[in-house]
């Protein structure tokens, strides 16, 4: 096939859930790729700045000489170029719309509230951010029921678009649970998601690219320390 002759590169960072999405999608399609780690704290590489001049962010997928940016756009691109099974997006337009809707919700509302927890000033603000996260998980538990229809993943028998979009955040979710001492995914409110999370992380296309929680937690502490050090004192 022509695609296999064309080089595929991924510009990423090991701790980024968005980069993970790209790699999971490529793994699902059994596409060989070269992974290039960006050491973001040391300054962005020439290749990154050239490939993503608008946002200067990872991930970037470079297919031949074509750069594709924005993780969910990359995942759709991968699905459309390597169009042999397994499919990442569902085939039914309504199910595709639901998958896209929830992926957008995760990126625009849910994950930002997770980030808010780490920068929240004071106990009340932290509690409010955690409550938002928990509410979101309850919504996602319901969505899982509707999308999976009794099957193991949002995408059905196999990992699909929404599994990838959501599952990539599990590492940081576990770090948040560790730091806050609160069980966010639990038997009480999100039993189905709890089981799904385990299946997702054990999947062949995921397990080698999911960072260890310990490593992420250490990294998180380091960033927080840097941010506190870098931020000027508030007057």
């Amino acid at each position: 096939m022509a695609e296999s002759d064309v080089k595929v590169k991924v510009l990423g960072s090991w701790s980024s859930p968005f980069v993970m999405r790209t790699m999971i999608a490529l793994n699902i399609k059994s596409v060989n790729y070269e992974y290039l780690e960006e050491r973001l704290w040391e300054g962005k590489s020439e290749l990154l700045l050239k490939s993503n001049p608008v946002h200067k962010k990872i991930p970037v997928l470079i297919h031949g000489d074509k750069p594709i940016c924005e993780s969910l756009i990359i995942v759709q691109y991968i699905d459309e170029v390597w169009s042999s099974t397994p499919s990442i997006l569902p085939s039914d337009p309504h199910e595709r719309a639901a998958a896209r809707f929830w992926a957008a919700y995760l990126d625009e509302k849910w994950f930002p509230s997770m980030r808010t927890i780490s920068i929240a000033q004071g106990e009340d603000a932290k509690k409010a951010a955690i409550a938002q996260l928990e509410e979101g998980l309850v919504l996602l538990e319901e969505a899982f029921g509707k999308c999976s229809k009794g099957k193991p993943f949002f995408g059905g028998d196999q990992i699909g678009y929404l599994d990838i979009a959501f599952g990539c955040f599990l590492g940081w979710l576990r770090v948040t649970e560790k730091i806050s001492g609160i069980n966010l995914l639990g038997e009480a409110k999100t039993p189905a998601l709890l089981k799904w999370a385990h299946r997702f992380c054990s999947d062949a296309s995921v397990k080698d690219v999911m960072p260890e929680t310990e490593k992420l937690a250490e990294f998180g502490k380091m960033i927080m320390a840097k941010m506190r050090g870098a931020a000027p004192p508030k007057s």
Partner: protein, 222 residues
């Protein structure tokens, strides 16, 4: 079985208007329901419980929310006159710039609307840079989508009426033919298309609406 298509929208919303434009370009008959955003209908809340926002498309009783998600749904369901390009790379580019418009340009437009003085100047500088990046995408093309209007033109349609009205209401100078000749050439072509005009936001009513809202916000923040 006859298709039943309903659109819950709002006359001043560019997100709502872009869905209307897509439906009309495809020749899809639909029932339009105008929502009063200060008093949302129980149907809207039922169809979009997560965000409680318009636009919502309801196709044979099933709701779809989020304008960009709706556009893709429309293109996949009614296959005539495709609005997204065929080639995967071109599709990725179209999606990239649509996201840029919604996440960067329109966010900065809001900053321009609510900021004053130096902050507003900075926001205007930011939006100028963003518009320049977008304008680059038009170079050498008839429309964003190539020879005829498509997905990215439908999304960028926000510039044609909404954005220009906003500028006029604010009395700022951020989006002019002088600064962006290529975009304005594109606007000139767009306004000649009947379907685009059918979906335009009525100018005077819109200017009034923007001014009233800004006044209310200034008043409430004192």
């Amino acid at each position: 079985m006859a298709d039943e298509v309903k659109l819950f929208g709002m006359w001043a919303s560019p997100y709502s208007r872009r869905v209307e434009l897509a439906l009309k370009l495809k020749g899809i008959p639909y029932e339009y329901i105008e929502e009063d955003l200060s008093n949302k209908s129980s149907l809207l809340l039922k169809y979009n419980p997560v965000h409680q926002k318009i636009p919502v498309l309801v196709h044979n009783g099933k709701p779809i929310a989020e304008s960009l998600v709706i556009l893709e749904y429309i293109d996949e369901t009614w296959r005539n006159n495709p609005v997204l390009p065929q080639d995967p790379y071109d599709r990725a580019m179209a999606r990239f710039w649509a996201k840029f418009i919604d996440e960067k340009l329109l966010t900065t437009a809001r900053k321009v609307s609510f900021a004053t003085g130096k902050e507003q100047d900075q926001a205007i500088e930011q939006i100028t840079e963003q518009l320049k990046l977008l304008e680059n995408e038009l170079k050498g093309k008839e429309y964003f989508s190539g020879q005829s209007i498509g997905y990215l033109d439908i999304v960028a349609n926000v510039l044609v009426f909404w954005f220009r009205n906003l500028q006029e209401a604010l009395g700022v100078d951020m989006f002019t033919e002088e600064k962006f000749p290529i975009i304005f050439e594109w606007i000139g072509k767009l306004v000649k298309i009947d379907t685009v005009n059918e979906c335009r936001i009525p100018k005077e009513k819109h200017l009034d609406y923007i001014r009233t809202r800004l006044e209310a916000l200034k008043f409430s923040s004192k």
